[in-house]
Amino acid sequence: MHKLTSVRFLASFSLVLILTLMPLFTQDTYLLGVFVLIFFNIILTATFRQIWNIGYLNIANISFLGFGAYTSGLLAIKLGLNFWACLLFAGIVTGLLALLIGYVTLRVKGFYFVMMTVALVESIRMTIMASPREWMGGATGLTNIPVPDSIVIPGLVTIGFDSRANFYYLVLGAMVIFLVALYSIESSRFGMTLRAIKQADVLAEHVGINTMRYKIVGFVFALTIVGLTGSLYAHYYSFIAPAELGFMGTSWSIIYGVIGGWGSIAGPIIGASLITALSELLRPFKQYLPIPLGVVLIFMLLFMPEGIIGLPTRISRLARRALKSR
């Protein structure tokens, strides 16, 4: 088991190293842009998985991206606040909203929770659409969100975010921090408790776990990350519109997760990178792509519920069975 952990560590470390060094070899803004999109998708899928691990299919995940993006964008545009302050406020506001929403909705389970979050996602989208244009941009959305302010360390360096490469580093760094945080939470005692709650919440309650508190903390933690990501998202694309915040937004995270596999945090990473990269590579056929993707999704659910990351165990099991029968 120890060996496996070090292999995992080495693999993820080298992956991060490659991603870090990449802008040195290519300055292609399109390529870097695709990677940034992949990073955003990975974060969204991994946070979705964190809440799914407590047993809740949170369709409103994308709304929290919207909360973060709109908080940050509005503060930057209307008040001219520094980006880093906007980022902080985006995290705080999203966290508080997650606390409020989680407090109400986490009481209901299963289908009712799904329904609540579907209603939430749509009503938030409709609220933003119906909002007066001068306040929140209405249906057209917020435009001209400024790029982040540069980091200035007097006398040493100035890091500006006008260039795509520096923004790439910002999102990469954020993603690594978020994923490490999610991973360490999951493997901690807290994460174990959350898993226990998913498997048998009545039992967990009976052994003295305050399940509601654990659920809310897990919920708020994951969605604060989504909010922070929303702030980065808004400043990266300099644009956020309610059309992006419908329930199909979260559905994409679910699709990435199912194809990658929910078993470990590697699943969302693999699923999101694979599908995002694929849809960029097959850009000329973009409108056809959802058809095979939907077929693959249903196929995976039927025959490979562990997703891509379940493949090695599946193959080795098949091989063992084949050897045994010989």
Binding site: L57, V104, G110, A119, S251, I255, I291
Partner: protein, 286 residues
């Protein structure tokens, strides 16, 4: 509000509610009998609308004949979908939900590829407006109300009087008990998918006559109809009827009172708050 306006709005709400009832009753049937969450029901409605468009507008089939063929086609599609995609996930709400996301992708993209991202409009067989005591209602809306009433009455009679309808009720109450009495669950599921999808097909065709047809039209309906199903009580058919009419009236009146942008939102928020305090819905069991 003056009286004619109230009656007018109520009629509009009734039309809208009738469409919601047709879609929501399919969702609630599938939930009650197959224990699945078919979130692709809006996309199925959209397929119904497009098949009606092909039959009536492109092939020139008689309007009422197309209105009969359309639900049969969509119902047959529903049986196939039920067999391949939903039967394996009986009783698994999350996985059937994710399956239906896949179906939404497939249906929307294939219609987008075939017809492009345009909004099509249908011309009903009888144009014009009926005016009575200062109230105006178009023939298309009258058609929606009549067809909706006929379809729902037919469904209730089928369930009350027919052997298969009673088998559906029985297996919704207790599927193992039903099997012990010799009910073939697969056949009941097929019947349920046929009826549910057929009703969505009718609704799609009717939507086409009063609103427009485009590949993403289903999304708004499916979200609203799931609200209705939750409002009326999961798996309860009378609940779906009551809930659908309530949402239709709420939406119509809220739109008249506050404007087209905020109206649907207000109706939505009222439903959410209702669910917070009574999660099992109006006519649902605990």
């Amino acid at each position: 509000m003056p009286l004619p306006l109230i009656v007018q709005t109520a009629l509009n709400g009734f039309t809208l509610g009738m469409l919601y009832v047709l879609v929501a009753s399919g969702i609630t049937l599938m939930f009650g009998i197959m224990h699945i969450v078919n979130f692709a029901h809006g996309a199925i409605l959209m397929l119904g609308a497009f098949s009606f468009l092909i039959l009536y507008q492109f092939l020139g089939v008689n309007f009422f004949l197309s209105l009969l063929i359309c639900p049969v086609v969509i119902g047959a599609l529903g049986i196939i979908l039920g067999r391949i995609c939903f039967q394996p996930f009986r009783g698994e709400l999350d996985r059937s939900f994710i399956t239906s996301l896949g179906l939404i992708l497939i249906f929307q993209a294939s219609m987008l590829v075939c017809f492009g991202n345009f909004a099509f409009a249908l011309r009903g067989p009888v144009q014009g407006v009926v005016r009575l005591f200062g109230i105006a209602i178009s023939w298309e809306r009258i058609l929606v109300i009549v067809v909706g009433l006929v379809a729902m009455t037919g469904l209730f009679l089928f369930i009350k009087l027919n052997k298969w309808g009673q088998a559906m009720v029985a297996s919704a109450q207790d599927d193992v008990g039903g099997m012990l009495q010799g009910i073939d669950l697969n056949k009941v599921a097929a019947a349920c998918m046929f009826i549910g999808c057929g009703l969505a097909g009718v609704a799609g065709a009717l939507v086409g006559t009063i609103f427009s047809i485009e590949p993403f039209m289903g999304e708004a309906y499916v979200v609203k109809c799931f609200m209705i199903v939750a409002l009326g009580g999961l798996g309860s058919l009378p609940g779906a009827v009551v809930g659908g009419l309530i949402l239709g009236f709420l939406e119509a009146f809220a739109t008249v009172l506050t404007g087209a942008a905020i109206g649907p939102l207000i109706a939505f928020v009222i439903v959410i708050f209702f669910l917070l305090f009574r999660p099992r819905g109006l006519l649902g069991h605990a």
